[in-house]
């Protein structure tokens, strides 16, 4: 962990600030999610206070920070509760996908042979399929049989991301398999399971955080898309930003912008900051992209006069 921190600090330029900024904004949403009951003034499906209905489509600021929507809900409360839903779903789907994808990639890359070839082929086929369509099919089935809660939603996103972990881990395993330290382990009599668990695992999981954060960003967008198509989390189960946006779209066209605007901003902010975390990590961890703060030597810049003449 200290090694990672060191790499981050030594990285030159924007990458570091992108990473720090992304982490900070993400933490705000994490705080929203954890402290939702205390931050949100109302429940996510609360349209009255002691029997008195909340106003319909009240403007932002009029006692309701982000206004109220057409279902008499407080938009700010929906946004805060929505971050709980969003983070639950993306965390679950990323963890599920990792639990399946990482060991598969490790075994596939280590064993090689026809197992490897078959798995690579199936994973590539799934990966080439449109992600949203896959999620649509899964949630279509799960909605029918299980219902539209947080866990079915997370499960319908899981299948999309398994191939990505698989690929990354498998490729690093293939590269590491022939390394000297693996050969040394084999020489002292370590079995394949021990080699994978003790020697390879720690070396190949380093690329997983980058994939995980980028997938988390993507999962949030897909969840919102499912909500827009009416397939994701059902409104009675939890507050979900995509559903709120799709409900607010008609109002937005007639000038009532706030029911859709605030959840949309929440999605944009959270996806952007998660992507920043992923890209920042990538640029600090990936040596091909990383630039150190102290470069030992640089060629002098050409003067501008020459540039114009060429």
């Amino acid at each position: 962990m200290r090694g990672l921190w060191r790499t981050i600090w030594d990285t030159k330029g924007v990458a570091r600030w992108v990473l720090v900024g992304g982490v900070l904004v993400t933490l705000v949403f994490v705080a929203f999610a954890l402290l939702a009951p205390w931050i949100a003034p109302y429940g996510f499906a609360q349209n009255n206070i002691d029997g008195t209905k909340l106003p319909k489509l009240a403007e932002p600021g009029s006692g309701y920070l982000f206004g109220t929507n057409d279902q008499f809900y407080d938009v700010f409360s929906r946004v805060v509760w929505g971050s709980r839903t969003a983070l639950q779903v993306i965390a679950l789907s990323v963890v599920f996908a990792g639990i399946i994808g990482v060991p598969l990639g490790l075994v596939s890359g280590f064993l090689g042979g026809w197992v490897d070839r078959l798995l690579v082929f199936v994973m590539d086929a799934v990966y080439s399929f449109p992600a949203l369509l896959l999620a649509i099919v899964f949630s279509f089935l799960l909605n029918d049989k299980v219902g539209g809660g947080v866990i079915p939603a997370a499960l319908s996103l899981t299948a999309i991301y398994i191939p990505q972990y698989f690929r990354v881990v498998r490729n690093t395993t293939v590269a590491a398999r022939e390394a000297t330290y693996v050969e040394a382990a084999r020489a002292i009599g370590a079995g394949p399971f021990t080699i994978m668990r003790k020697y390879l695992f720690n070396n190949v999981v380093q690329s997983v955080p980058v994939v995980a954060t980028l997938n988390a960003a993507d999962a949030l967008g897909t969840l919102a898309a499912l909500g827009f198509l009416g397939l994701g989390i059902q409104p009675t189960e939890a507050a979900e930003w995509g559903y709120d946006i799709s409900r607010g779209l008609d109002d937005a066209q007639s000038g009532v912008w706030w029911p859709a605007f605030f959840p949309a901003m929440a999605i944009i902010l959270l996806i952007t900051s998660l992507t920043f975390v992923g890209e920042g990590l990538n640029e600090t961890v990936n040596p091909a992209l990383r630039r150190r703060r102290h470069r030992p030597f640089r060629f002098p810049q050409r003067d501008s006069a020459q540039e114009v003449s060429s």
Binding site: F121, A125, S128, L133, I245, S246, A260, A264, I268, V308
Partner: protein, 344 residues
């Protein structure tokens, strides 16, 4: 030289052969998901309205009372003959839905791709060349936001904007009602833009073109972000190459180095990854079509999902799978033509 030109046909032949297992894997996944999952399509679609006997009759009519293995082989055989089945309620062949509505999806995606390339390539190149400058940061933020913003939200923002500026500009559907009436006769290619043009109906053609603007912009905005990021990363990596250092050492100006040496090599991997964006494009098309009431295949899919028509959903998803596989074949072949290193 001779050996490399000889290997191109071999590469293409191999690549074409590879399609068969690829399609097979995808079809099996689709079948497993939609058929083997518990519950059956008939009771899901009409179960609440018919008696048990009538349900059995419908199941038998659809061939769903046969063993799963038979259904599976039957399904594979049908797809091999480009028969994707019929919808459950109206018994319409999926292929005729694809024929009637595929054109709209095709022109939407092609238009969006063109817009994305027009925006994405120049921006990505600028950002890559002037790495870590404020301009680079701004372009990267554009790249991320275009991908972070929900597509349907962007679409509605555009609609609101256009309504405010030019209230008469079309923001919905593929053609205005009058054009639709006129153009019912134009079914030569089932692609409305082409058909109106072939019929020489200029006003209808312009009308259809206008209707394309907002949906294509919306989908193109999403794709442009991906292309910006790809081009930027590849320009940066190409600029670190030895041949770029060599070009600089020969005294060639930085602008020319980027233009003549780095940029061209940066574009090669971009072609591959742009090909992979076909999947993203189709995903985006489903959302765009729903947002703009666009009469494409994506809207059809959403409609049949709403109707719980398993057979139609299975047919359309299968069709999408076939499209993805064939476009990736075309991209790989183009890639092999452009980049000799691909042909192994």
């Amino acid at each position: 030289m001779a050996s490399s030109s000889g290997s191109l046909p071999r590469y293409i032949a191999l690549r074409v052969l590879l399609i068969i297992p690829l399609v097979w894997v995808l079809l099996t996944v689709v079948f497993l998901l939609l058929r083997v999952a518990p519950g059956d399509p008939v009771s899901a679609t009409v179960g609440d309205r018919l008696s048990e006997d009538a349900l059995d009759e419908r199941r038998a009519a659809a061939g769903l009372d046969r063993p799963l293995v038979v259904q599976y082989l039957d399904y594979l055989g049908n797809v091999a003959r480009f028969d994707f089945g019929n919808t459950f309620r109206t018994d319409t062949p999926i292929l005729s839905i694809v024929r009637d509505q595929g054109g709209a999806t095709l022109t939407l995606t092609v238009g969006a791709f063109l817009i994305a390339l027009l925006i994405g390539i120049p921006l990505g190149r600028l950002a890559g060349r002037f790495r870590d400058t404020p301009g680079d940061v701004a372009i990267r933020v554009y790249g991320v936001v275009s991908y972070a913003a929900p597509l349907f939200w962007v679409g509605i923002l555009l609609v609101v904007l256009v309504n405010a500026v030019a209230p008469s500009f079309p923001t919905n559907d593929i053609a205005s009602p009058f054009t639709k009436l006129d153009s019912e006769a134009y079914t030569k290619t089932h692609i409305l833009v082409v058909d109106t043009l072939l019929a020489g109906d200029t006003s209808a053609f312009l009308d259809v073109l206008q209707h394309h603007l907002l949906p294509c912009l919306t989908l193109g905005f999403l794709l442009s972000g991906v292309i910006v990021r790809l081009v930027r990363i590849n320009v940066i990596q190409a600029l670190q190459g030895d041949y770029v250092e060599a070009a600089r050492a020969r005294g060639i100006g930085e602008g020319r180095v980027v233009r003549k040496h780095a940029f061209r090599n940066a574009l090669v991997p971009v072609i591959t990854v742009v090909g992979l964006q076909v999947a993203l494009t189709l995903s985006g098309a489903v959302l765009t079509e729903k947002t703009f009431n666009w009469p494409g295949v994506g809207s059809a899919l959403v409609r049949y999902i709403g109707e719980r028509d398993y057979i139609a959903v299975q047919g359309l998803v299968t069709f999408f799978a076939v499209v993805v596989v064939f476009t990736s074949l075309i991209v790989d072949v183009i890639n092999a033509l452009v980049d000799p290193r691909v042909r192994y």
